[in-house]
Amino acid sequence: MELFFTMLVPCVMLAVAVTALIRRVDVWGAVTDGARTGLKVSLSIMPPLIGLLTAVYMLRASGALDLLRDLLSPALTAVGIPPETVPLLLVRPVSGSAALGVGAELIQTYGPDSLIGRTAAVMLGSTETTFYTIAVYFGAAKIARTRYAIPAALCADAAGFLAASWAVRLIFGG
């Protein structure tokens, strides 16, 4: 089973390349064009990442994050969410690059293969930047009365955070 997940990405690469070759698609051109797009995206998130990681490192050094963790710890522990992930829970629905910065800091501080590091990674991978998405969609569709869209989307986020914590514990133990 572990081999399956290890080999998933290389196998997807191979399967996609072979399919494309059979369909006479220029594989190499597509890979390089796509990578060029990725480079642009990557560079475009560097400035916000620098700004946000600066703020996150300052907060961590000041002891403010520990304070926040201690404050919310009883409630979060009761539902099974590691309290160390508090900063990630707070920024996830608001900003994608902030969440990536905060999550990466958690993963580096506690270790990528620790319970907290894994939970942060799963939270990042299973939720989205809710408020940004809502603003873009309703803005484009010129909708003023959004009815129940925001509460329903926040329910999905809360469920994602809880499920991420439970799933990591279930699969990796601890």
């Binding site: 399919t19 000041s62 002891g63 993963i107 580096q108 990042l124 010129k142 329910c155 999905a156 994602g160």
Partner: protein
């Protein structure tokens, strides 16, 4: 504007809390370390991101995204009963979901917006049930292979960056299911 306030509050809290707890010098050092960490994080995940956007471009050009979109259509007719016979909406919605699953974020948004605009036609500024469902589904993460997160884990020295996949899938499915259930329930009472 929201980000300006958030950033200022973060920096302000760090400075005040640092001074109050005597961690002032550590905060100053944190600012320098954090700025460097931003560049390092970006550079260390850049390779994975570019590799995957490359593979995604091949998927798009050889029609894998279109094939997946056709497979998804029957399920989506049931999720959007109000638009089951609107060909344009169903085309855009299924292509949007297919792009989300494959991680083609740049392609997914314009498709989703096209569906949203069409759903909003003649609605007078009130979101229909279908549009609320579309937004809820797009605020949940459906990406099958979260490569950026795996890149961050790899950069931090993970033994197997992709071992979180089953947990990510489980959490995503639960999150989306709760979102859809909440939308369906609320649609009955919230007019």
């Amino acid at each position: 504007m929201a980000m300006s306030v958030i950033w200022t509050v973060m920096v302000g809290a760090a400075v005040l809390c640092g001074l109050a707890t005597g961690n002032g010098p550590a905060v100053a050092k944190g600012a320098l370390d954090g700025a460097a960490a931003g560049v390092e994080l970006c550079l260390s995940t850049m390779g994975v991101m570019c590799l995957w956007t490359g593979v995604m471009e091949v998927m798009r050009r050889c029609g894998i995204a279109d094939a997946l979109s056709r497979l998804l259509r029957p399920v989506l007719r049931r999720l959007y009963p109000g638009y089951a016979h609107d060909q344009r909406v169903m085309d855009a919605v299924s292509a949007n979901l297919s792009a989300n699953l494959l991680g083609l974020g740049n392609a997914a948004t314009p498709l989703g917006l096209e569906a949203a605009r069409r759903m909003a036609e003649g609605s007078g500024g009130t979101a229909s049930d279908g549009l609320c469902m579309l937004v809820v589904c797009n605020t949940a993460s459906l990406q099958l292979i979260p490569t950026t997160v795996a890149g961050v884990r790899a950069a931090a020295g993970s033994a197997n960056p992709f071992d979180i996949l089953p947990a990510v899938w489980l959490a995503s499915v639960i999150s989306v299911a709760v979102g859809i259930a909440a939308a369906k329930l609320l649609s009955r009472v919230w007019r």
